[in-house]
Structures are given as structure tokens and as C-alpha cells.
């Protein structure tokens, strides 16, 4: 744990120092002021949160629906649906460009796609890639929670006269709520901070937070690093705040 404390603590302190001390040496809050007054950064925040919420919401809904569909199925359908889980995000994005890009395979098969999915300004392509990757991850967590024990409790509820809807509300949902919330926090935090997917299938503008940070470093060698560190620290704070809110929300729902 000491190793982790040193490395992670060092990283946070290092990011803080970088945000306050550009390469020209003088300590100042200029990078933070520049960042917060930059209209492009405001667009970045709105875009990043839209992508994060859409991805997390759609992935969670898809995982719940698929888990109800697959909970009694055999090992082969489960294994096939789980296939995207060990596949790196960058690889899924590469496959998405191959299928969904202009002149891609979907375009050729269907004779034209109704909407642009790669490098579209709304970020639909980014959300599609993330959902393809994250829904199976959440599905695995849900299926793990839907084991024999849950089957027995649902059978007991049925014997006691509970309708399927009542059983879903009072037996199934409490069993899967925990894994779903923890999984959704991990998904949201990942989407908030990762940038290989937006870099591959996302638009040039607006950008996500990490892309903004990357472009800041590329665009301005003197102060760019500080602005990037400030933006990334805000992304980190947002991810942690999101996790705390979700955990509190879950406790409230449980009545704790």
C-alpha cells in the first residue's frame, strides 16, 4: 500500500505543481484562470458530461435488459456476449471506424447510414463504442449477482404469491443494485478520463476533457502543460465527486 500511496500521492502532487508552475518557472494561478475563462473548455465540459451520462445510462439499461434475457442461457451465449470485455477500448474504436466510418462496411452493406457515426459532432460514435464495450462489462457483474441463490429467493417469493413484477422489484432489484451502481461508477469514471476512443472516432470539436488536455500540451509548450494538468485535476475531482454522490444515492435508496 505504501508503494501505491507514494506513486498515486506523488502523481496528484505532481499534477498540482504542474498546474501552478508552467515551464517558464514562476508560480501562479494563471493556468487555472486561463482554463476557466476559455469558451472551448466550457464546450469540452458540456460535451464530456453528455458523453459520460449517455454512455453510463445506455450501458446500464442495456446490461439490465440483456441480463434478464440471458440469465437462464447456457455458457456459449454468455461467452460470446462477454467477448468485448477483455478487448482493449482502442481496438473496439478501430473496429468501429472499419464498420461505421464513411465508406465503411455498414455503409456498403446498407447502401448508406442514416447518421454519421464516426467523427460526428454529437459524439454518437463515441457513445456507441463505449456502450459496446461497457454494457457487456456491466452484464457480467449482473449475471454474477444473479446466481442460484437469487433463483431460490425468487422461487420462494413466487410460492408466497408475489407477481413477476413484485418479485423483480423486491427480490431481483435489491440483489443487482449494488453491482450495477459500482459498475456504473467505474464506467462513468473511465469515460470521463479516457481519450483513445474520442481521439479515434470523436469529432475535432468539441473535444473531451482528456483530449483538451492533450491538445493543450501539443499546442503550447510553455503554458500548455499547466493548463492540461489543471483540466485533468478537474476531471479527477469530477470522477471522485461522481463516485461519492453515487454511493450516497445508493445508501439513501437502501434506506441507510
Amino acid at each position: 500500500m505504501t508503494t501505491l500511496l507514494v506513486l498515486f500521492g506523488g502523481a496528484l502532487v505532481g499534477a498540482g505543481l504542474t498546474s501552478l508552475r508552467p515551464l517558464d518557472g514562476a508560480t501562479s494561478t494563471a493556468a487555472w484562470r486561463q482554463l476557466l475563462s476559455d469558451p472551448a473548455f466550457h464546450d469540452t465540459i458540456a460535451f464530456t458530461f453528455r458523453i459520460t451520462l449517455a454512455t453510463t445510462g445506455i450501458s446500464a439499461l442495456a446490461a439490465v435488459a440483456l441480463s434478464l434475457l440471458l440469465r437462464n442461457s447456457g455458457a456459449v451465449p454468455r461467452a460470446l456476449v462477454s467477448l468485448p470485455v477483455p478487448v482493449p477500448h482502442l481496438l473496439v474504436a478501430t473496429v468501429a471506424v472499419l464498420w461505421l466510418g464513411p465508406g465503411g462496411l455498414a455503409d456498403r452493406i446498407l447502401g448508406g447510414l442514416p447518421v454519421d457515426l464516426v467523427r460526428d459532432e454529437a459524439g454518437i460514435g463515441i457513445v456507441a463504442v463505449y456502450v459496446y464495450k461497457e454494457a457487456p462489462f456491466l452484464l457480467l457483474l449482473l449475471l454474477a449477482a444473479m446466481g442460484d441463490d437469487l433463483h431460490k429467493r425468487e422461487a420462494a417469493a413466487a410460492v408466497l404469491g408475489a407477481s413477476p413484477l413484485q418479485s423483480l422489484r423486491w427480490v431481483t432489484w435489491p440483489a443487482v443494485r449494488g453491482p450495477l451502481i459500482v459498475g456504473s461508477i467505474i464506467v462513468a469514471a473511465y469515460v470521463l478520463g479516457s481519450f483513445e476512443v474520442p481521439l479515434t472516432v470523436g469529432p475535432n470539436y468539441p473535444t473531451t476533457l482528456s483530449e483538451y488536455a492533450f491538445e493543450a500540451v501539443q499546442g503550447d509548450l510553455i503554458t500548455g502543460e499547466s493548463r492540461a494538468a489543471a483540466a485533468l485535476l478537474l476531471a479527477a475531482a469530477a470522477a471522485v465527486a461522481l463516485a461519492i454522490t453515487a454511493v450516497h444515492f445508493a445508501r439513501d435508496v437502501e434506506g441507510g
Binding site: 500500500m1 508503494t3 501505491l4 500511496l5 506513486l7 498515486f8 506523488g10 502523481a11 496528484l12 505532481g14 499534477a15 505543481l17 504542474t18 440483456l66 440471458l70 456459449v76 451465449p77 461467452a79 460470446l80 467477448l83 477483455p86 478487448v87 482493449p88 477500448h89 482502442l90 481496438l91 474504436a93 478501430t94 473496429v95 468501429a96 471506424v97 472499419l98 464498420w99 465508406g103 462496411l105 455503409d107 456498403r108 452493406i109 459496446y132 457487456p136 461508477i185 467505474i186 469514471a189 478520463g193 479516457s194 481519450f195 483513445e196 481521439l199 479515434t200 476533457l209 482528456s210 488536455a213 492533450f214 494538468a229 485533468l232 476531471a235 479527477a236 470522477a239 471522485v240 463516485a243
Partner: protein, 244 residues
């Protein structure tokens, strides 16, 4: 049907990797060949990046398991009275963007001469991999393994014999999954590697620009990128079966 929907897109990757000419609107390539393969083999950058990725992922996995072991044991056997802060520390590197961690570490790595080195990459990857190692490994420790170890001790087995014959076999499923996850998290790192070691490129960093510039080379590099991940998954399933 649903399963096929998830598996099918990857088949196209194999076709694309060996499609020397594949112009729209044709559904199948006009000409198959090894253009991408030749380009990748001739380019020292791609092969070096592949080797860097393998070395970093393997070393990080080994180090993460060794460093995670004591923490996982204490947490798994519920020996801490207040484990909350430890779990918060474990959750943080998972929640904080890897590029943020990399940017922060770069500040120190520049002073220590570790930027663009394999040691720098290993240390940076360890920051995000360690929590996964601890969280998965702790599920293996518990009363069952503890009781077996106590029986082995009562039977007169030395500490080394207990480790080899009781603890390691008992932990095999958790160890296998933990190792797989560590390998995968390190293998897929993009932002972190870019921040601390862009000069010592790993495979994802070499792959990404080709997605826009040359889809055939991108597809071939993608196959090289996915092969070790699938091999690791296969090994995990084989090795991870519980002997107890």
C-alpha cells in the same frame, strides 16, 4: 444471435489486415496480400513498441502481484479494524483519469531521469494496476485457505512447503484472474503511457495514428494488439480452475 452481434465485427478486422485493395462499395477485397505485414516487419518502431508493451505488461503483472499479496491477505482475512481508508486509496487510481496520473508523475520522472524509460513506464502502470491486483486477490484469501494453512502447519510443513502446496494452489483462481486483469490493464494503457513515455512507445501509441492514415496497417496492428490479450484469457481459464 446476440452473441454473434458481439463477435462478428472482429472477423472483419482479419479480412482488412490482409486486404491490399478494398475499395468501396465492394463488400469483399479486390486483392489480398501482405502489404501491411511487410510494412510492419520493416518498421522497427512497431516491433519495438510490441516488445515494449510485452515487457512492461509482464513486469508490471509480476510486480503488482508481489506487492499486492500482503495487502490482499490482510484485507481478505479482515484483519483491519477500519479498512475504509484503504479501500478509498485503492479506488482512487481507478477513478482518476490515467492521463492525469501520468501528467503528475511526469513532473517527478523528469527530475529522476525516468521519462521515456521502461522503468518509468513500469512505475506509472503500477499506479493504476496495483488496485486491481489487490481487489481481485483479496477475494482468494479467507477462512478456507486459512484453515488449510493451519492444518498444514499442524502437520509439520515448513513455511515454504505450505506456500507451494497449500496457499498457492488454494489461491490459484484468484491469482489467475488478478494476473489477467493486471496484464490487460497495463497492455491497454494509452493516456498514461503517452504522458510518461511517448519517446518509448508502446503498441497502442503506435497503432492509433494508423487508424486514420492506413486502415490495413491499423487492422494488422490491432490483431497483434488483441492476440496476447486473448492468449492471456485462455491461460487464465486453463490455469484458474480451482484444485480445491
Amino acid at each position: 444471435m446476440i452473441g454473434a452481434l458481439f463477435a462478428l465485427p472482429f472477423v472483419a478486422l482479419v479480412v482488412q489486415a490482409f486486404a491490399d485493395i478494398w475499395r468501396a462499395p465492394a463488400l469483399l477485397p479486390q486483392e489480398f496480400g501482405l502489404r501491411a505485414w511487410d510494412a510492419v516487419v520493416r518498421s522497427s518502431g512497431a516491433i519495438e513498441a510490441l516488445i515494449n508493451s510485452v515487457v512492461v505488461a509482464v513486469v508490471v503483472t509480476g510486480m503488482a502481484l508481489a506487492l499486492a499479496w500482503p495487502a490482499a491477505r490482510v484485507l481478505g482475512e479482515r484483519r483491519l479494524r477500519h479498512p475504509g481508508p484503504v479501500f478509498v486509496l485503492l479506488a482512487m487510481p481507478i477513478l482518476v483519469p490515467p492521463f492525469a496520473i501520468g501528467t503528475g508523475l511526469t513532473q517527478w520522472f523528469i527530475r529522476l531521469g525516468l521519462t521515456d524509460t521502461l522503468i518509468g513506464l513500469v512505475l506509472a502502470h503500477l499506479t493504476v494496476v496495483l488496485p486491481y491486483a489487490v481487489l481481485v486477490l483479496l477475494s482468494g484469501f479467507g477462512p478456507a485457505v486459512r484453515e488449510l494453512e493451519d492444518m498444514a502447519r499442524a502437520s509439520g510443513l515448513s513455511p515454504r512447503q505450505r506456500l507451494m502446496w497449500v496457499t498457492l494452489p488454494g489461491l490459484r483462481p484468484a491469482l489467475a484472474v488478478s494476473a489477467f486483469l493486471c496484464f490487460l490493464v497495463s497492455w491497454s494503457q494509452y493516456g498514461l503511457s503517452l504522458a510518461v513515455g511517448a519517446g518509448r512507445a508502446t503498441l497502442p501509441i503506435v497503432l492509433l495514428p494508423f487508424v486514420r492514415s492506413d486502415p490495413q496497417i491499423a487492422a494488422l496492428l490491432s490483431l497483434l494488439f488483441i492476440a496476447p490479450a486473448l492468449a492471456a484469457l485462455f491461460v487464465t481459464v486453463r490455469v484458474g480452475r480451482s484444485p480445491l
